[in-house]
């Protein structure tokens, strides 16, 4: 199951990276952490662009680097794709030539998926242009297509959307998720935007000061009370639910998951669609009694797993709802009134939900 096994120790004048990682072979792994935590350096190590004092890197059965054995594949020998923060398109080549640069050097040299990718990324009309004539969002889409043109076995993306404004981000984000599913390609994705993180990640790696704080399923890392994510004001959790009905009259989507049913205002989606929902901790309130049945839809039975006191007057509670994990942020006073303790059964009322995908 493990696809990427990596260990690096890199000492620079003012920074030290000491990271050990094992990542799954499917889906998107998001690496997050405050700026200067060593995310980019870690990715560059994986790509072979840095030369750590101690290095071990292996993708599936293929060894890339083992400093103990004095073995190191150069970057250009590693079957990876890399999308840089600022696209790094070759300014003397057109979009088509930029993409062909990778295609010509790919394994098969006839990358059939590439036409699909170009279509998906909506860059067909840009092919004849030079990079200087592209907008930021267009550049990044081309950079993604170029990285995919070499038919990588692992795609590395270093804040590919950081240089873009919100509108452009929303323009690209859906493509990314879609692409990953179409191509069945494992992706490592750096971001410090909670938006991108919750929308894209299957697996989450949290870094701080050159070290890896946590690595695991998105949900478990998000809701782990010992980690800064759950302690922040904007703490949130995600859960996956399936569409089972649509109330056209109220434009309400009816969803179900292991913890119960949810209704979310949304346009109609086909039955059986799997949706990822993000729920902010502050949008969840707790009560001891089952609420009146009218509203019972977004009121779910839950069990208290843990509590932490991250900010003055507030308490963050982690809950188990069915097989999923949920965070709730309540005032200390409410907590005291409820006499919350670990293992206690409560009702979690979800006041607001965002559908991510």
């Amino acid at each position: 199951m493990t696809m990427l096994k990596a260990q690096f120790h890199l000492k620079l004048a003012t920074f030290e990276l000491a990271a050990q990682l094992e990542l799954p072979s499917t889906g998107i792994t998001v690496i997050t952490g405050s700026s200067g935590s060593g995310k980019t350096l870690l990715m560059r190590c994986i790509a072979g662009l840095e030369h750590p004092q101690v290095a071990y890197c292996q993708l599936n059965e293929q060894l890339w680097e083992d400093s103990a054995a004095g073995y190191c594949l150069a970057t250009y020998q590693r079957p990876l794709g890399y999308v840089f923060q600022d696209s790094c398109l070759f300014p003397h080549l057109t979009v088509q030539q930029n993409i062909d640069y990778g295609r010509k050097r790919s394994y098969s040299k006839s990358n059939h998926n590439l036409e699909v990718v170009i279509e998906l990324l909506n860059i067909t009309s840009l092919l004849k242009r030079k990079p200087a004539k592209l907008s930021g969002g267009e550049k990044q889409r081309v950079a993604i297509a170029r990285a995919l043109a070499v038919e990588p076995q692992l795609l590395l993306m270093d804040e590919p959307l950081a240089a873009l404004d919100q509108a452009h981000k929303y323009e690209i984000l859906p493509y990314l998720r879609h692409l990953q599913r179409e191509l069945q390609l494992p992706v490592l994705y750096i971001t410090h935007s909670p938006q991108e993180m919750t929308q894209l990640a299957d697996h989450l790696v949290l870094m701080d000061k050159g070290k890896i704080l946590a690595s695991g399923e998105l949900q478990s890392v998000l809701t782990c009370l010992d980690l800064p994510l759950a302690q922040s004001q904007r703490a949130s959790s995600v859960l996956t639910a399936e569409v089972f009905a649509y109330e056209a009259e109220f434009q309400l989507l009816q969803l179900c998951f292991s913890g119960g049913n949810l209704s979310v205002p949304h346009q109609e989606l086909p039955k059986g669609s799997q949706l990822r929902l993000r729920i902010y901790a502050r949008d969840v309130s707790l009560s001891l009694q089952s609420p009146p049945s009218i509203d019972s839809c977004n009121n779910l039975p839950a069990r208290v797993l843990g509590m932490v006191n991250p900010a003055v007057g507030y308490i963050t509670v982690s809950l188990q709802v069915g097989t999923e994990l949920l965070l709730a942020q309540i005032t200390r006073k409410t907590a005291s009134l409820l006499q919350l303790e670990i293992g206690q059964r409560v009702y979690a009322e979800i006041k607001n939900t965002a559908i991510l995908s």
């Binding site: 790509a47 662009l49 150069a74 970057t75 250009y76 020998q77 990876l80 794709g81 890399y82 840089f84 600022d86 790094c88 398109l89 070759f90 300014p91 003397h92 640069y101 990778g102 050097r105 790919s106 170029r146 990285a147 043109a149 070499v150 590395l156």
Partner: protein, 222 residues
């Protein structure tokens, strides 16, 4: 324009010397310039100074030292003799070696300047697109450093054509072997052959002017 057959021989020789010098210099200067543009090691400054030395040394002085070092009593000359090679002074090869040294800064510096400004991330991007370093050099660095290379070629070539002091010192004024345009011109002047000198000088001035004018337009179109 009255050019004697000796003048034409000198012109042909000069063009051959300048072309070969430029070619050799490109091969030497490119890696050297890349290293100088990117190394942060202690030898960067001394190496830079060494490369620029021909700019400040009077050519005849450089020529004299080359005569000493390359001659049968100099260490390079002795080394060459041990390997059964002829010493370099008074030969075309000697002239080539001297010109390469003398024109070195004119080729290294423009290339170094353009390399220093080269965005290394583009190189990294090429590496992640499965381009080997050599591949990346020819497909990314070279096309993006075009102007630096053209400037270097033009300056290296033109400077070799105009080279005089060094050639005078180690050439030995041999027709068809070491007597280049500048020496021929000097001979005319010294022999008070002003008519012949004027023709050759006019040609040299015309050539240099066109080359520098071309370079100017080239850089303006950047």
């Amino acid at each position: 324009m009255i050019l004697s057959s000796e003048d034409w021989i000198a012109i042909a020789l000069t063009l051959k010397l300048a072309s070969l010098t430029t070619l050799v210099l490109l091969l030497i200067a490119t890696p050297l310039a890349w290293h100088l543009a990117h190394t942060e090691r202690w030898w960067k400054a001394p190496l830079n100074a060494l490369v620029a030395l021909p700019l400040v040394l009077p050519p005849t002085v450089l020529g004299f030292y080359l005569l000493v070092v390359l001659g049968p009593k100099g260490w390079v000359g002795q080394l060459m003799q041990q390997f059964g090679l002829n010493t370099l002074p008074f030969s075309f090869s000697g002239l080539l070696v001297a010109s390469v040294l003398y024109s070195l800064p004119f080729v290294v510096q423009p290339i170094q300047a353009v390399f220093s400004n080269f965005d290394k991330r583009l190189l990294e991007a090429a590496m992640t697109l499965r381009a080997s370093p050599l591949d990346a050099f020819f497909t990314i660095i070279l096309p993006l450093s075009k102007h630096g290379f053209l400037t270097a070629i033009v300056l290296g070539f033109a400077h070799t054509v105009g080279e005089f002091g060094v050639v005078l010192m180690i050439g030995g004024n041999i027709t068809g072997e070491t007597r280049v345009i500048s020496v021929q011109l000097y001979n005319h002047v010294e022999a008070m052959n002003y008519q012949a000198a004027h023709s050759l000088a006019a040609l040299l001035v015309l050539f240099s002017f066109s080359v520098l004018l071309g370079l100017y337009y080239l850089n303006r179109g950047k």
